[in-house]
Symmetry: C2
Subunit: 347 residues, 2 copies
């Protein structure tokens, strides 16, 4: 199995290094032969080549069995709305070119972190949500530009039936293996693309009579996720709504630093933390690498079908937490200072 490591920007570098070490340990322990290569994306790729997704990186991705990804982004571009070349273009192009239309984000709280969240433990205990975020359509990829001499800017949100059906099917299939409850999130009371979305999910629902489907407007979901996270099992939604709701839902897991995601579709799967490049803590050895480690676990499970190996990794994270070790982001007032470790040490 050939694994491409794509650390990207900011803390992506630090956390992916830990994720890779975990893959090496697993290979040694289970007698697998994993080979590795590395490639650039985002700001570091722009600096080196002028292109946020160099052709060489894309070729390497297509030729590998799985990609362990870090993060992209840099404050320099965020505060310069007129920049023409941006790190995020690399990320979006990768998603499109690899056909990564399904982004899976499991939100599950490690028991040890019950008190790390801003939400009450009794509200959280037992919450276990699997998000399916559509990743190659919507307002991310529609036409965008300026008109009226640059005085007006526009972005087109767009969905085809085919795009909704394929992500919907993945969500229904997953719901079947879980609590058989699916929430489809849209804004069908306002958006035409949401109405088409709802039509397609309604059609699919006929094929999955064993799955209970609930339709929610995105504003209601944003509220209910915090009010009562346990009412959710599988959630399927569009690209933009998924971006917002899964970051919000990270608070259910105590910290963004604990959440992994899998982007899958037509070819190579890409596995990455849901957190960003976090330039404010970059290079300080403070980043929580557990989301990258758990991304490696998802990689083993989904792309390589190595369920046992994946569980060993998840268990290891659990053991580290049970022993009381924490990174800064998941420590609380009761944490003994000596148990707060940096990126490498906790890795």
């Amino acid at each position: 199995k050939h694994i491409l490591i794509v650390p990207g920007d900011g803390i992506g570098q630090e956390v992916t290094e830990v994720g890779k070490k975990v893959l090496e340990k697993i290979a040694a322990k289970f007698g697998h032969d994993f080979t590795y290569d590395e490639a650039l994306i985002g700001h570091v790729a722009i600096e080196a080549t002028g292109d946020p997704l160099p052709a060489e990186t894309l070729e390497k991705m297509k030729a590998s069995d799985a990609v362990l990804f870090g993060a992209v982004g840099h404050p320099k571009y965020d505060n310069d709305p007129s920049a023409k070349v941006r790190p995020e273009q690399g990320l979006l192009k990768m998603r499109k070119e690899l056909g990564l239309y399904a982004n899976l984000r499991p939100i599950k709280l490690f028991d040890e972190l019950l008190s790390a969240s801003s939400i009450k433990p009794e509200i959280l205990k037992g919450a276990d949500i699997l998000f399916f975020r559509e990743l190659t359509g919507d307002i991310y990829f529609g036409e965008k530009g300026r008109k009226n001499n640059g005085d007006t800017a526009y972005d087109v949100a767009e969905y085809s039936r085919y795009e909704v059906e394929r992500i919907g099917r993945k969500a229904f299939e997953a719901a079947r293996t879980r609590k058989k409850h699916l929430v489809s999130v849209d804004k069908a009371n306002v958006l035409e693309s949401s109405r088409l979305w709802r039509e397609e999910i309604q059609k699919l629902a006929l094929e999955y009579p064993d799955v209970t489907v609930e339709y929610q407007f995105v504003d209601a979901t944003a509220m209910l996720l915090i009010k009562d996270p346990k009412r959710f099992d599988v959630v399927v939604t569009a690209n933009l709504f998924g971006d917002i709701l899964t970051d919000e839902a990270s608070q259910i897991a105590g910290s963004m630093g604990m959440l992994a995601s899998a982007s899958i579709g037509d070819g190579t799967g890409v596995y990455e933390p849901i957190h960003g490049s976090a330039h404010d803590i970059t290079g300080k050895g403070l980043a929580n690498p557990m989301a990258s480690v758990l991304s490696a676990a998802l990689l083993l499970d989904i792309s390589f079908g190595m369920k046992a190996e994946s569980e060993v990794v998840i268990n290891a994270v659990d053991q580290v937490l049970k022993k009381g070790f924490r990174t800064g982001d998941i420590a609380d007032a009761t944490t003994d200072k000596s148990m707060i470790l940096g990126t490498d040490a906790i890795g």
Copy 2:
């Protein structure tokens, strides 16, 4: 002063009745002469006239000094994505026709409700946020439709410089009277309309050097609102992001049933709860009318400049809570059952 009562659908009817009674009490107490009229909108208007915003309603709105609004919506349309006439069209048309480009949503927790939220009291205590949601632009009002024989649906998100500037200015002005901290929320790393949004806020910031401006991506805000609500003072954002974030932020106030909003702009101001029509509890006398009562307080303050009168209303809500009275939505495990009242009684 002439006040138009527009209850709309579902619990809109029940809660607006209480809101109106409060206005009558204030008029009597302070010796004001308020006159009232009533008009239809939403599902009830469709049933009566075929039109979700009858011309007569719009005329009456324009001719009044303020509108006390309820809610619109009906499950019948939600589950029928192909319906051509929908209650929400009445709401959106009203916003456009009255030029209600600024939706103010104050999020403030009554101390008595600290324990009613799913968020920890120590995270909430002291949180006080004022949202400015743009209300007449964005993907709500851009072109929308189908193409490719109906197989693709699209919605255009659009902002002009002028639209961003006028809502931005209102937010900066408000920040000046508060903690002088403004968070502008966009998705400028992906959307062109967000980049224009950010450019305009950056320009305005030069005119308000006493206000500290922070730029956030909407996914980060969705997370930070729950993680650390106290870091926010004034927030300004686009129509769709504002819809999602303010419903989410309702959890900071313990319940959607406590949150009022003011929609202002070129003419008559409209005051309404942020909750919806809630058909599941309609007609049962269970709805929490406090959001409508607090909407009446906003109406007195903003449209009539009656600050003292407004404070009397807010104090009355506070007293009701201090005495231990609750509606079901804000009761918790420790609430004495006999203190849980219905809509009229708590009104």
